[in-house]
Symmetry: C2
Subunit: 585 residues, 2 copies
């Protein structure tokens, strides 16, 4: 292993690299820099003395080459005490970093170098003159670079290049014109919090190994339950790896509540259980049913009205039908904010039915939960307070970095009874602190990633008022889009009326199709429009928006806005871009 002075530290001269016009000033800098902590001193000399030759964007294909980040300090002392000063990454390897002896200097320099790459990416993400994506087909990317894993290490110069290459082809999910997913945007406080989470590198297993994070989860889940409207914020909950798993938890807990013996005896010991959810609900309900041994046939899809809302009378009819067959309805999952239409099921009516038939009411508010933060829009979730459990993903509408999904449960203790296995070798009962803070045994997971800190820190930084402003703004933008296109030539709305969430669903009809009769041929041609426009968007990299078919409706665009970086001008741009890319079709 190399050590300071053995070759990877190289020393320049005053008349070498650096500020050629002012070597004296530069030397003075380098000396003053040493007074500062935290990786800053590191940066100064190196940057002053030659870190100008950035590596070209190239992957790991090329052989090891002359160092691109050569740097030398022009201090009087040789060797000088500049921590980074003159790091030559081509001669450094991971084994030179902490915990290596003498590893502090190269570690701080290396991490700062990575941060510089990340900061550049962050700035670019918000720059409308950059591409949303530099798209390449899988086989192109696979051929262009050597991504293989080998026996021998690469040097840190190569590692830094991999970071640059990876970001070069990454999609800029924070870009103001990236509308492709329900999760968009890049929140700066959330990002900082996620960096801290990585640095703390622990999990939510016990208070012992994550004291602050466990408390923050407790505080944050309680606050979310208060906002849902459960008295005093009482109840239970957990941050899980995504909304699909949160919904699966709900199903699991609902089943256990009704038939606790299922834990030991399995599904063989219980009657046939039936879950109900709308035909527009998320596929995770069926996925969960398949996994939990309930079976997808036992998930009954309830009809929706033309706006995508569950029809309560159909729900009641199907519940009665199931009961008549001797089956046991055990769960209704209403959706607050469907994936495609952004529809809110009528929660109060659903709650009445669940109460009448004593069925667990779950609300999948993965997408719509954020609206609870807005005094203007929360009425759309009226009745959520009557739910037994709620899925709410702050990583969607609230802009928290991925992943951050909460499952909230009204009854306390149920999660624990349902999932605990009492592994005494993992949850020792004779520890010296209050064991109710050891949350590991109520989870399906053993180790569990810390997902709460980014939400908590963002909440402190924005306040509830800040989330409210964010959400109100996104909904206003959706309405702006709707108002523009509803009467614009070449657009047809998939459903009538103002959007309830930020989802705006529409067809773009190119001029050549506008003259056609509304027949099968037109539908067939229309179905091909959105995929082509989307493919062109990705190839140009200018913007991205999702499309899909749904039921008997052929491919249409689903526009969603969750990124506070988006403006009216970005909406205008999207419309112009769709027309530019689609008018010849």
């Amino acid at each position: 292993m190399a050590s300071p002075g053995s070759g990877f530290w190289s020393f320049g001269t005053e008349d070498g690299s650096g500020d050629p016009e002012n070597p004296g000033t530069a030397r003075a800098w380098c000396q003053v820099a040493q007074k500062f902590t935290g990786g800053i001193g590191n940066k100064l000399c190196a940057l002053l003395y030659g870190d100008t030759e950035k590596p070209a964007d190239s992957g790991g294909n090329q052989p090891s080459r002359a160092p691109a980040r050569k740097a030398a300090c022009a201090c009087d002392q040789k060797p000088c005490s500049c921590p980074k000063a003159d790091v030559n990454y081509a001669f450094l390897h991971a084994t030179d970093l902490l915990p290596a002896f003498g590893g502090e200097r190269p570690t701080l320099a290396f991490l700062q170098e990575v941060v510089d790459i990340l900061l550049q990416y962050v700035v670019k993400s918000f720059d409308r003159s950059t591409k949303v994506i530099d798209f390449h087909y899988p086989n192109e990317l696979l051929q262009e670079y050597n991504w293989e894993l080998a026996e021998h290490p690469q040097n840190l110069e190569e590692i830094l290049m991999h970071c640059q290459t990876t970001l070069k082809y990454a999609i800029k999910t924070g870009h103001p014109r990236y509308f492709n997913q329900l999760s968009t945007g890049l929140d700066m406080v959330g990002l900082a919090a996620d960096w801290l989470t990585s640095t703390a590198n622990t999990n939510m297993f016990t208070y012992e190994i994550a004291p602050v994070f466990v408390l923050l989860e407790y505080v944050t889940l309680k606050k979310m339950r208060e906002i849902i409207g459960w008295p005093g914020g009482s109840g239970d909950g957990i941050f899980s790896p995504g909304g699909a798993i949160s919904n699966m938890y709900a199903m699991l807990i609902a089943r256990f509540k009704m038939f606790p013996e299922v834990k030991e005896k399995g599904m063989a010991a219980v009657p046939r259980l039936i879950a109900f959810t709308s035909e527009h609900s998320h596929f995770s309900l069926k996925k969960g049913a398949a996994a939990l041994g309930i079976g997808t046939d036992s998930v009954i899809l309830i009809k929706c009205d033309e706006r995508g809302k569950m029809i309560p009378s159909d729900l009641e009819r199907r519940i009665l039908e199931a009961k008549q067959k001797g089956f046991v309805p055990f769960l209704v999952s209403a959706t607050a904010g469907t994936t495609v239409y952004g529809a809110f099921d009528p929660l109060l009516a659903v709650a009445d039915i669940c109460k009448k038939y004593k069925i667990w009411m779950h609300v999948d508010a993965a997408w719509g939960g954020g609206l609870l933060m807005s005094r203007k829009h929360k009425w759309k979730l009226s009745g959520v307070e009557r739910a037994n459990s709620v899925t709410w993903n702050p990583h969607k509408m609230m802009g928290v970095p991925l992943q951050c999904s909460a499952l909230l449960v009204r009854e306390e203790g149920l999660m624990q009874s349902c999932n605990q296995m009492h592994a005494s070798y993992l949850f020792q009962q004779d520890k010296h602190y209050d064991l109710s803070y050891d949350t590991g045994d109520k989870a399906l997971q053993c180790g569990r990633h810390v997902d709460v800190f980014k939400l908590w820190l963002m909440w402190r930084a924005k306040g509830t008022a800040g989330f409210e402003a964010h959400i109100d703004k996104c909904l206003e933008l959706a309405e702006y889009l709707y108002n523009i296109i509803k009467n614009r030539e070449g657009y047809e709305m998939v459903f009538d009326g103002k959007p309830q969430h930020t989802n705006v669903c529409f067809w773009y009809v190119p001029p050549s199709l506008r003259v056609l009769d509304d027949n099968e041929e037109r539908m067939s041609r229309l179905s091909k429009v959105a995929p082509v426009i989307k493919a062109r968007m990705m190839e140009y990299g200018t913007t991205m928006v999702s499309y899909q078919p749904l039921g008997d409706k052929v491919n249409f665009f689903r526009m969603v806005i969750s990124n506070p970086a988006a403006t009216h001008q970005d909406i205008d741009f999207l419309i112009e871009e769709i027309e530019r890319l689609g008018q010849d079709l």
Copy 2:
């Protein structure tokens, strides 16, 4: 919202803050600094001009106070162009950061400030003179700080303080004397990769939104399958949120392979299924069985020998017993590296039995999988190549940051058939690229966190050879510990013989107990020793090691080593510390 010049940028004078001895040099610095990108220019002036007064460690309890990070630029120009120069965080809020107009300067300054806090923490983590943990009881921490979430935002000064406070009470999981969990250590390249992952802020749903990460998952899983020994690395797999979920996947896929109708029809349509695993296996097998509707009663625990290895003859006996009752054995989960003893089940013998009775063979190598990287130790997993599925957590023995757990499956396509729901609105079939790279539908999750990049980048940086060296070193340290204590007065080994993994299990017997006969009273007193020593360790914060009872064995220490920062001296320290803290008991 504040804007540059409106108050949060404050301007000092030459004779004010800054380098009091050399204001001229300082001014020159500030000007030169502007040439550099990436947040560095930001730092210079601010650091030069007054960033010396760091905030005290205090939470959010105190009212908003005078800014602690006051800084002013002494440039000639007023206002100057120094990006950070003179940021006063007490006057800045999240709304001043990107995407705010003019947000680039404060954003780069703020993120760099956070990074400085993190870099300090990183350096401290490896410093043996710092505490592993500054332990406080839950009620103390709850009372000492105000962690509550409020209506109104806090300023960025307060946000930075929260970062400091959070880390102050965090456990230093990278500390060379932290031996508490199977996952320890803080790898610098892994950390950098995790920061990049956070910055890219996407998920593994489709190639469209995570092109590079999807390819890297493909490459990395293939490499892992090659190492397991499946021909050409063929097969399937996924990175899941932890070993418990990976094991649940295995169970789910094994069930589907035998009875594909279970997906639609549920467990009611299939005979009673039985899974087998050893009495020393991880509790997640039972947890998975409970969740999947199989029931914990249908998980048969096979007896282990005195070293914690599954006894094959007992496995076969229990399989026959189940078959005689008309039940269907569908899964054997052998463990490669048990949680407590670090035992490796005899995989070849288990494979023979699974073949004979046509049962899915799963290997839970969450903890032991890392040994496959070592030519010296991989024999302990001989037979793993005959498994149908393998759980392997690089976040454990390979030191990858949390979370990084892989489930590898020998048969390709099975995961997809088992889990896909064909949600056409999410997985459009008419996209313009090869859809086999859209991995979302084979997962239980919908959105899925990017867990692969840190492993991939570490692998490039260390090479397979680097992981091998890391693992050989940790196992050598465990043997060192074993050799010291096996004959040392006051120690009793829980099982005889050299450890096979890094697990070393032992009782420390204080002098007062050494004279007692081996009776119930002694056992009762011995059971209280480890908890008291552990509590004292945490209160001193000097080191941490786990303890637990197991079967008829009262509380004993389970020492594990996965942190390459640990040395022989740290092992010596642990022994001395146990004796120092336990000799009076």
